[in-house]
Amino acid sequence: MVATYHYLFLGAALFTIGVIGVLTRRNIMVILMSIELMMNAVNINLIAFSDHLQHVTGQIFAIFVITVAAAEAAVGLGIVIAMFKNKETMNINEIDLMKW
């Protein structure tokens, strides 16, 4: 039996790695992957508490998080393809059309 806080530490570590990835990388694909990492960290927390409290709601919520992640990946990658068609770049610093 692994204590619940082990899983919370793992979730916090993965979430931090995801945030660092989003903030430091300029490649849009890696940024989308970092967002997936963060969603996984959230799922670990939800399921850890679901197991700890012996209640199924956390797992249901994790299923909805996975659904939203799938939708987000589909739309995000559609945007990436549209962006690459227009600008021929993956670097988000060059996507500054609406920059003030």
Binding site: Y5, Y7, M33, L37, Q54, A62, G78, I79
Partner: protein, 174 residues
């Protein structure tokens, strides 16, 4: 004891692969390490007795989302994107923000260290513990959470239409 060993193996693979995802220069390598992270997170779900979620993780994340990522990497020209600048120029601001986040986590963990061992939940009845995880999740999904389930299906439909429209349309900048 076995669960603890498995947890540490999966957690180590997950964290090392996650660090490699954000440090690799080549996007394809990032995608491969992301697959390794996602699979070990599925293993973590197994140690948490969430067998259905582990299966969903493998099928939807590794089999669906990650394949989508690899397809998009294939569609865009890889040679160009590797030569581009990979890391942000504003790395000092990024570093300060990351340091603030880590400090916040460490402080929160330090403050809450007395409550690490949460009180155990009340014992389940024998009938509930004997049924499988998939059965429990399915029952909850189609009774209590039926409306959110249907709304999630509408969200997926909107995402399909949106992705097709975004990727197909011929846009002109000039």
């Amino acid at each position: 004891m076995l669960e603890l060993i498995l947890f540490y193996i999966f957690a180590a693979i997950a964290i090392v692969s996650a660090i490699l995802v954000i440090t690799q220069k080549n996007v394809v390598h990032s995608a491969v390490f992301l697959a390794s992270t996602l699979l070990s997170v599925a293993g973590i779900f197994l140690t948490l007795h969430a067998e259905f979620l582990a299966g969903v993780q493998v099928i939807v994340y590794v089999g669906g989302i990650l394949v989508l990522f690899v397809f998009v990497i294939m569609l865009i020209s890889l040679e160009r994107s590797v030569t581009e600048r990979q890391f942000s120029r504003q790395w000092t601001i990024a570093l300060i923000t990351c340091a603030a986040l880590i400090t916040e986590f460490v402080y929160g963990i330090y403050r809450g260290k007395d409550s690490f061992l949460l009180p155990p939940a009340e014992a389940q009845t024998a009938a509930e513990t004997l049924t499988g995880n998939t059965q429990i999740v399915g029952k909850a999904l189609f009774t209590t959470f039926l409306l959110p389930f249907e709304i999630a299906s509408i969200l997926l439909l909107v995402a399909i239409v949106g992705a097709v429209v975004l990727a197909k349309r011929k846009t002109q900048v000039d």
